[in-house]
């Protein structure tokens, strides 16, 4: 059995969303001559955005069910795959526009993917620009067990631990949805603490730092004290940064605990109970023996969740599992950990 926790169907184009928008929004799209909401996080022709053999001659990668089945589900023997749609909803500045398009994206995903392919599950895209509207969107889909997670981006207006976002976590916890934080940014803040970098290579590399920031924020603000059953999944984070980050956070926590007295467990313990990470990309060392050392540094075999990150180009052929993983861990990563993470994944779908 294989559970793929991070795949990325593309919205073919803006026109594809029009049927799922209210009439007035359809008219506004037309009147204003709106462009596609394509984020610079994944430039269309960048080698990372789509693997060469997954890049169609025309149109976007992963834009049709045929592509998704033939390139991703069938070759990897995938039983279940979670769709994380990276359409640039979070980049918009208008809360209402973001809400309208988030709803359209989710409707498209439900009708054109989930209804037609029983192996697919999805994350709910939310208009994070307005927490109330984000909660409304969660509630809209909460009754549909095929939605298993709420999708947020690694960089936004504020660190995700801040209390303004807690209604989202309350809604997720209420409905046993996980919170998926995926690489990407609203670009409402510069991608680094020293402003905008010159190259895309830097921007994509900086995603790992954004995850570190978010993990610190979620832990320090006490999100897991308030919502002890909430699981946060870090998607496409690179993950090998985790041990060093936790060493540093734990060291400072021991001295600065008084600033955040609700944090009454070490960050390592909190991660073990509440945080998971998808496998691809694995920013690993060149030598697979060293990768085993990194995995030992995680001090838990429950943290990693299998992912292909389809159609992003993270590996070639079917080598989604980096070499160096012990067999027992493979089974955990492929099946057991995803099943333990996504409460809704094991529920029957009518």
């Amino acid at each position: 059995m294989t559970i793929d926790c991070d795949i990325h169907p593309s919205i073919p184009n803006l026109a594809a969303l029009l049927p799922y928008l209210d009439e007035h929004w359809r008219e506004i799209v037309k009147l204003r001559g709106m462009d596609e909401f394509n984020s610079i996080s994944y430039p269309a022709r960048s080698p990372l955005t789509a693997r060469p053999d997954w890049r169609p001659e025309k149109g976007k990668p992963a834009a049709t069910l045929e592509q998704i089945r033939g390139e991703c589900l069938d070759p990897f023997g995938t039983d279940l795959a979670i769709c994380n749609c990276l359409h640039g909803i979070q980049l918009l500045f208008s809360e209402d526009l973001a809400a309208a398009f988030a709803r359209a994206v989710n409707t498209l995903v439900a009708k054109e993917l989930l209804d037609k392919e029983p192996r697919l599950r999805a994350s709910i895209v939310v208009p994070i620009q307005n927490v109330g509207l984000a909660v409304e969107e969660i509630e809209r889909w909460a009754g549909d067990p095929r939605f298993v997670q709420v999708l947020l981006l690694a960089s936004g207006d504020h660190p995700l631990g801040k209390r303004i976002y807690w209604p989202i976590y309350a809604a997720a916890a209420r409905h046993r949805l996980t919170i998926g934080i995926h690489a990407g940014s609203s670009y409402h803040n510069p991608p680094t603490a020293a402003g905008w970098p010159t190259y895309y290579t830097e921007d994509y590399t900086a995603q790992a730092q954004a995850f570190q920031t978010q993990l610190s924020s979620l832990i320090c603000e006490g999100v897991f004290n308030q919502y002890p059953d909430l699981i946060v999944v870090l998607l496409e984070s690179g993950w090998t940064w985790l041990p060093a980050h936790l060493w540093r956070l734990t060291k400072y926590w021991r001295g600065l605990r008084m600033e955040i007295p609700w944090v009454d467990r070490s960050p390592f313990d909190i991660v073990r109970s509440n945080v998971r990470l998808s496998l691809q990309p694995t920013d690993g060392p060149p030598d697979s023996a060293d990768l085993e050392r990194v995995i030992e540094h995680l001090k838990s075999d429950a943290l990693l969740l299998f992912s292909t990150d389809y159609p992003h180009w993270q590996f070639d052929g079917r080598d989604a599992l980096p070499s160096g993983l012990p067999a027992s861990l493979k089974r955990k990563i492929m099946v057991d950990n995803p099943r333990a993470t996504y409460a809704r994944l094991v529920e029957p779908v009518a």
Partner: protein, 137 residues
């Protein structure tokens, strides 16, 4: 184990702490609520002098955004990294099961008792009319 005379009780008034050397070892003596407590004057983390730290309470929280100061006067914060130790037990607050300062049992004995022995008073002149802080080590 021997009982060592540390100092006359008057040297460590309530709420204060002071550094002594007993058997060549630096011992921080704290007075909390009428009782004396002794700790090796070396933080188990990196060796900061606990006696140079500040005595405070422990900040606890029922939930994020709430703060409560408890047991004020019973915790010492290392002067370097701010790690907190329970003066009564030596236990660290951040990882009580694994990290603790070394504590020594302290008591008070009268000058008369101290004069009789079997106490060891290395450098402390003992007078019968005074009470003394005594450490077992």
């Amino acid at each position: 184990m021997t009982q060592h005379v540390v100092a006359p009780v008057a040297e460590v008034p309530p709420g204060s702490h002071k550094l002594y050397t007993v058997k060549g070892r630096p011992i921080a003596v704290f007075k909390v609520d009428g009782e004396y407590f002794g700790m090796l004057d070396r933080c188990p983390h990196q060796g900061g002098s606990l006696c140079a730290g500040v005595v405070s309470g422990v900040l606890v929280s029922g939930k994020p955004g709430t703060y409560r100061l408890e047991r004020n006067g019973e915790l010492v914060r290392c002067p370097w990294h701010g790690w907190e130790f329970d003066i009564r037990t030596g236990q660290s607050y951040c990882d009580p099961a694994k990290i603790r300062g070394k504590s020594y049992p302290m008591s008070v004995a009268s000058g008369a008792a101290v004069s009789e022995g079997p106490y060891v008073a290395e450098t402390v002149p003992v007078r019968v009319e005074q009470d003394y802080i005594v450490v077992e080590m």
